[in-house]
Symmetry: D2
């Protein structure tokens, strides 16, 4: 499958004051996937092969499990035949 974008949002079940610390660790993990990524106000978007992203999400899940007892993770994939990029979607607005 071609390149897709995947926007990843994690909400850990922790006290309000601890949320950003946990999210920072999730973003640090994603930043090491070797994919283009962009941190936004509600999620972090990566650009990469669909299957590779799913495998990386396995590692991210294990990482989160090491940090908190409960979390919600919402992954929003955008698939387009031939591939799609972050730039294609936002460049005209920057």
């Amino acid at each position: 499958m071609p390149k897709v974008t995947a926007s990843i949002k994690i909400v850990p079940a922790v006290d309000s004051k601890d949320i950003h610390g946990v999210i920072d660790k999730a973003i640090e993990h994603i930043s090491k996937w070797g994919m283009k990524y962009e941190v936004g106000p509600s999620n972090t978007t990566v650009e990469g092969e669909y299957e590779v992203i799913l495998d990386k999400l396995k590692e991210l899940g294990k990482h989160m499990e090491s940090l908190v007892d409960r979390f919600v993770m919402i992954v929003d994939f955008d698939y387009k035949r031939g591939g799609i990029s972050i730039d294609e979607k936002v460049s005209k607005y920057r």
Copy 2:
């Protein structure tokens, strides 16, 4: 990792009249995963091992690719240490 729930929403880029046909095919695919599943008004929730769900999503992506040129897929995972089930979340409301 323990059992999680994953709620899967697919929005295919097709004309209004064709949406439900494509979504029915996605649900049919999910129904064959061998996991407990429940179809809701905004998504379909499965209950299973986190890694297995991610592998099944690879197949679902390929299946969708065979049906439409573009789609959005949003997967909402709920992880709880020790595992979580659909029943645990909805039984008191049924």
Copy 3:
């Protein structure tokens, strides 16, 4: 505008053990809106006039504010010209 469905998910920033108590209070609030509703494993779906749902969400926000210091609320609207119902989307799967 015609009837839409709106699936409401709330993730409060509280400890894992306290999540379901807060979500139960949110569902109890929604159950008093006077709209058809259905509790699912990842969200609660209501069926009603678009503008009325938005006004009810104002009250729900205030209610949540009285309960917790931080929360994420995700509302997933499905609009179809002429109106759409929960039954129309799930009846064949029940």
Copy 4:
């Protein structure tokens, strides 16, 4: 209620080639709300009073209704006591 962020994603039920045209019109509409906003790869985030955003969403719904026969709209609110801003969430990553 204090300032919240709301990330708005719209998926119109139109052919793949027409999606970006419709989304551009939705973003143009949001850009006139008089709120700080940021276009991202999977949604557009605004920063404003909770109730005001809900009222603006009424207008956005009507605008979408004038453009397409069906659409999904997902709005992801982040509420924090005392208020939250887009900058607070992303500045260290820019």
